[in-house]
Structure formats: C-alpha cells, structure tokens
C-alpha cells in the first residue's frame, strides 16, 4: 500500500494534480475553438458535433423529459455561439469547462423557472438501440444496472448530482467543476466522495428493495 501510494503520489505530481485530468483537448479542437471565436460557422458546427452528445446527456440527466433537455441544449449552444468571442482559453480552463458552465447556468435558470425538482419517477429507462450484447442475459444485466443507476442518481442532492455528472460522467477536472459550481477545488474533491458514497448506497438500496419487497 505504501509503495503504491508513493508511486501514485509522484505520478500525480508529474501529471499535474488538480489540473484537467480527464479531458485533454487535441490540437484540432483548439484550432476549431480559435476559428469559432472568429465567428466561423463551420468551425462552430464541428464543435457542435463534438459536444452535442455530452451536453445533451448532461441536460437529459438533470431534467425530467427529453423536450426540456432539447431546449436546454439548444439554449446552451445558442449562448455559446453568441458569446464565443468572449471565450478566452488563457483564463478558462477548457472549452468543455466553459460549455458546461453555460449548461449548468442554463439548467439552473430552467429550474428556477420551472420550479421543479427532479422527480423520483425519473426519466424512462434507457434503450439498448446502439449497444451490442453477447447474450440476452448480458443485455438484461446491463439494462438493470443502468436503470438502477439512473434511479439512484435521482436520489442524490442537487449538488451531489451536479458533481457526479460533471466530474464522473462528463470527466471534467475538480477545478473545472469548482469553477462551474462556484466552489473551491478542495470542496469539490470532498463532495465527490460523499456523492459517490451516496450513489453507491442508493444503488445498494435499489438492489435490496426488490428483494425485500
């Protein structure tokens, strides 16, 4: 344990602990962003293709129905287009971080207007359209796991869900999540463990519930 700990410590130092650990923007994306800041619609269109799935997934997991998620996604990209010339790579942590900050603000604004909390009913079960399964049992296992996961996600608090979604689902760094949520990086690190612990607990409860019932 000690040996691994020490090794991990130096690895962490080398890789820049606290920096963006999950999203590494490649050169083409950086150039796309630069072109988009100059109001290049083609570049922005490519960025849209790159980020649509992630933004939509985030909105879909935060909001109750697909129509709301669609609205939020459209609003996020429209805001991004309007304010792309304000995006400064030097000050912002990454384009993804900036985009998700817009998404976070849009969702919060949406919540404020909708005055709703995420229902425990949750969204409908995810489909298996684009996943290949070796056997029906594997499909059933996958589906059950994801449905449970989805339900468990709805049982978290708002902040915990935000951390889980941004940090673990979308792969943003603790600093980026902190910037988005207006919290310190260390606070986010603490929150992420409480969140994942709560999620695990909710999942085990979700598993125990059918057996008990």
């Amino acid at each position: 344990m000690r040996r691994i700990d020490r090794r991990m410590f130096w690895w962490g130092r080398r890789s820049g602990w606290g920096q963006s650990v999950a999203v590494v923007e490649d050169e083409s994306e950086a150039s796309l962003v630069v072109r988009a800041t100059q109001r290049d619609t083609d570049a922005f269109s490519q960025l849209y293709h790159l980020y649509f799935d992630r933004v939509y997934r985030y909105a879909r997991l935060r909001l109750r129905n697909p129509a709301d998620a669609e609205d939020v996604t459209a609003a996020v990209f429209l805001s991004a287009w309007r304010g792309i010339d304000r995006f400064c790579p030097k000050h912002e942590t990454s384009f993804a971080g900036w985009l998700f900050r817009l998404a976070h603000n849009t969702v919060v604004d949406r919540y404020r207007r909708l005055r709703e909390t995420v229902s425990l009913d949750g969204p409908e079960a995810p489909s298996t359209d684009d996943v290949a399964f070796p056997s029906p049992e594997a499909e059933l296992e996958w589906r059950l796991t994801l449905v449970e996961l989805h339900k468990a996600l709805q049982s978290l608090t708002d902040e915990q869900r935000e951390v889980v979604l941004l940090r673990f689902v979308e792969g943003l760094s603790a600093r980026e999540v902190g910037t988005i949520m207006g919290k310190h990086e260390g606070t986010v690190r603490g929150m992420q463990f409480r969140a994942i612990e709560a999620l695990r607990r909710a999942l085990s409860l979700a598993k125990a519930r059918p057996a008990g019932g």
Partner: protein, 464 residues
C-alpha cells in the same frame, strides 16, 4: 468507507489522489479491476476504490438512447441554424445610430475606451434624466422610435428594466409580448430602410422574445397556472407576425419574408413542443380579424416597384361583412400614390372604395372591426396588470400604432367615417388608458379631412 481507510492509516487526501490517478487510467482505457489488482496482491484491500471506479466506469458508459439522441440532434441543429441565421451574424457598424442598439452595444463597450464610454454614459444619463422629467411623454415617444433614433436607447432600457422587475410570470410574459411587438414593428420599418444587418439583428431579437414567451407559457401551463392572458397575447403576436409575413410576400420583400418564415417555423416548433393550445394562423394567409402591423407599408426588396408586377390577388371581401384576404387588386394599385412599394390592405381599401358605397362601408367596417379587435386584444392582454409602467402601456399603444399605420396610409377619410371610427375607437379602448389616449388623439387628428395623422407623416416621410 472513509473510516475504514483511516484505520489503514491512509488519509482521505491520499485516497483522493490515488482515485484521481485511477480515473486518469480509466480514461486511458484501463479496467478498474486491473488497476486495483496489484495492490491486492500485496495484501491491501482496494475493494471500496474498486467499487467506486466501477461505478464511475458505469457512469462514463452511460449513453442517452440512440433514437432519442439523433432526433434531438437534428431538432437542435435545425433550431440553431434558424436562430444563427436570424441572429446578428453581421454586427451593425459603429455608426452613431447603431452604437446603442442591442447587439452593437456590447462590442462598443468593449472596444471603446473610458472616454468613449463616459461619453455614452453621459448621453444615456441625459436621456434618462429627460425621460424622468418628461415622464409619460418621452416614454410614449420612445415607444414609437426606431433603431438609430436618439431616444431608442430609452426604449430599450425601459424594456430591460421592465423585464428585470417583472414580479410574476404573467407580468414577465406581458413584457416579453410587448418586446416582441416592438421588435416586429421595428423590423418592418427597417425592411423599408433596406438595412439588412439591422433587420437580422431585430429578427433574431424578435424570435428570441417570442420563444421566451412560448417557453414561459408552456411552463406555466405545465404548472397549471392561468395562461389565458398569455395565450391571448401570444395569439395576437402570431397573427400580427402572420400578417407581416403575408404583406412581405405580397411586396416581394424576400429578405423579410425569409426571416419571418424562419421565425414562424421556429415558433411553431416551440408551440408544438410545449403542447400549447394556440390557434396558429394559416401559413401564407393574412388574419382577417387583426390589423397588420406596419408591414403594410413594406416595400419590395428592390426599389424597382415590384408591387405592381405582382400577380393580382382577388379581393374576397364580402360587402357588409368586413372580411377580405388583404390582397391587392390591379385597379387599386394603379391609383396608389406610393407607387413602387408593394402594399397589402391599403390597396384593398382603395379597390373597395372604387366599387362604390357598399365597398366603402365594408372597408369602414373592416377598419373599425380590425382596430377594435386589436385594441380588445391589447387591453385584455394587459387587463390583469393595470398601469404598471411604460412598457405595459406600450402593449396597447403598439397595437394602436398598427391601426394608425393602416389608417394613415389610406386616402384622407371623410369626416363621417373618421367620426364613426373615432367613436368606435374611443368606446373600445376604455380599459387601456394609454391606448385610449393615443387612439383618441389619432381619431381627433383623423377627423380633420385632408390632414394626415402625425404617425402617417412621420412614417411616410421615412418610407419615402
């Protein structure tokens, strides 16, 4: 979990660091089980971390269903394409008039130095001081201004303040409707000025306001709140927009009709998505019961007088019923004094007047009916929030402006007609205080034969 790790003399921070590295490995394609296996071989138990990593792997693998995702992608792309086309892709130049417009303002503030900013701030402060001193009169003047006018900034400021201080959703919806009304009014005016960048800006802002209104109405409907007032306002705006679109199509103004068509499509989509029970206007047809906005005077996109070369539209107006399609007849166009600008209902009125007294009466009925309807809608829309401020006042005055434009483009009314119109006008505008003031003033001016209205002279001079 954490206590268990503390027992093993591993601090939470260490756990966090290791976990972060494991996450990095996870992004690189390492399976959580493999990354924890080495530690277990050394007698350590990484079970909690392995469970956490499994959970994170499951979260990362989550995908929205493919069918839903692809449908959403296409929908959002269509909406974005529409909005981006409409939005200010071309920012207005830094001319004196454009500096204070909505889109140009942000760039201006960033680009200009402190001296320039203080100059603009002083100008805005002066205008505000005048507006405070002048009170209602300045606000009324500002409500009828166009981009480039010195008091246009006051109008925009009033709108922003009203939107920011809207105390309820219903009030917010009313303000949004008023803003949309203003933008449409300005858009049709700018169409006459052939200022394409400004038209794009205004069209984008109009569409944005309408979509916000639709979203708000849908939200309130979902919350089982009373949306009858908002629906009424929304229907009114959609009808006005439809009429403006029809007038633009008749006038052959392709840029305006294209912008409005995109806007209509976008709003239809939003309405259907929000499951709103709104009577949508039939595409390509004018609304009989509403007065078209200033779009009546929309000139064609070229100045060569395409209006006369347009195929003639049959006047389906039945004498006495006051219904017509708003098209223009060949005979009516030939008598027009505003040759070269395609017109909608004006020409219809002229052609009807050629048909004799019956047609004249029908035209009169039509005029007063449409004015009544516009005022009823405007007054019913604002009846729940009486006399709240300048922007609320503008909702009725904007509707009355559309009526004023309609009448102003007509030949000089006979005293009898004008008196009748003024009576009807005054009777129907009791609930809207400012609207009634405006319309009574208009009726008083219109009652003098041969004297064009103030709005008419201003507007027609701009058109010319």
């Amino acid at each position: 979990m954490r206590s268990r790790w503390r027992k093993r003399d591993l601090l939470v921070d260490d756990y966090a660091r290791i976990f972060a590295v494991q996450l990095l490995a996870l992004d690189g394609g390492t399976v959580p089980d493999e990354s924890c296996a080495a530690d277990e071989e050394n007698g350590g138990s990484n079970a909690p971390m392995r469970d956490d990593l499994r959970l994170v792997a499951a979260l990362r693998a989550y995908q929205v269903p493919h069918s839903e995702r692809s449908a959403a992608r296409e929908n959002v792309r269509a909406r974005l394409a529409s909005a981006i086309t409409l939005q200010a892709t071309v920012v207005p130049g830094n001319t004196a008039g454009d500096e204070l417009t909505h889109v140009g303002a942000a760039r201006y503030w960033r680009s200009s130095g402190w001296r320039g900013r203080s100059r603009v701030a002083a100008a805005v402060a002066a205008v505000l001081a005048v507006s405070v001193l002048g009170g209602w009169q300045v606000s009324n003047a500002a409500a009828a201004t166009y981009p480039g006018s010195p008091v246009y900034a006051v109008k925009r400021l009033e709108e922003r303040i009203a939107l920011a201080t809207a105390w309820s959703d219903q009030r917010r919806g009313q303000v949004l409707a008023t803003i949309a009304d203003h933008r449409l009014y300005e858009l049709t005016y700018e169409a006459g000025q052939h200022d394409l960048p400004m038209m794009r800006t205004l069209a984008g802002e109009y569409d944005s306001a309408m979509r916000s209104l639709i979203d708000l109405t849908a939200t309130m409907q979902r919350d089982h709140e009373d949306i009858s007032v908002l629906l009424s306002g929304l229907t009114h705006e959609l009808s006005t927009e439809s009429n403006a679109l029809h007038a633009a199509q008749i006038a052959g103004n392709s840029s305006l009709s294209q912008m409005l068509t995109s806007s209509v499509e976008s709003q239809r989509h939003a309405i259907s998505a929000g499951h709103l029970d709104v009577m949508l206007p039939a595409p390509g047809k004018p609304q009989d019961h509403l007065v078209p906005p200033s779009g009546i005077a929309i000139p064609p996109s070229t100045r060569s007088g395409q209006g006369a070369s347009q195929p003639s539209h049959q006047n389906s107006g039945t004498p006495g019923t006051g219904t017509n399609t708003g098209g223009h007849s060949g005979s009516g166009t030939s008598t027009s004094t505003n040759t070269g600008s395609g017109k909608g209902r004006h020409d219809t009125h002229e052609s009807q007047s050629d048909h004799g007294d019956e047609g004249d009466r029908a035209s009169l009925n039509n005029d007063s009916d449409s004015e009544n309807m516009a005022h009823e809608q405007a007054s019913s829309f604002k009846s729940t929030a009486p006399s709240a401020g300048a922007v609320t006042r503008d909702a009725a005055s904007a509707s009355s402006r559309t009526a004023r434009h309609t009448t102003s483009q007509l030949p000089a009314p006979s005293p009898q007609r004008a008196a009748s119109a003024s009576q009807t006008h005054a009777a129907t505008s009791k609930t809207a205080i400012s609207a009634s003031a405006t319309s009574k003033q208009h009726a008083r001016i219109a009652a003098e034969p041969g004297v064009p209205t103030r709005g008419a002279s201003a507007h027609s001079s701009r058109q010319l």
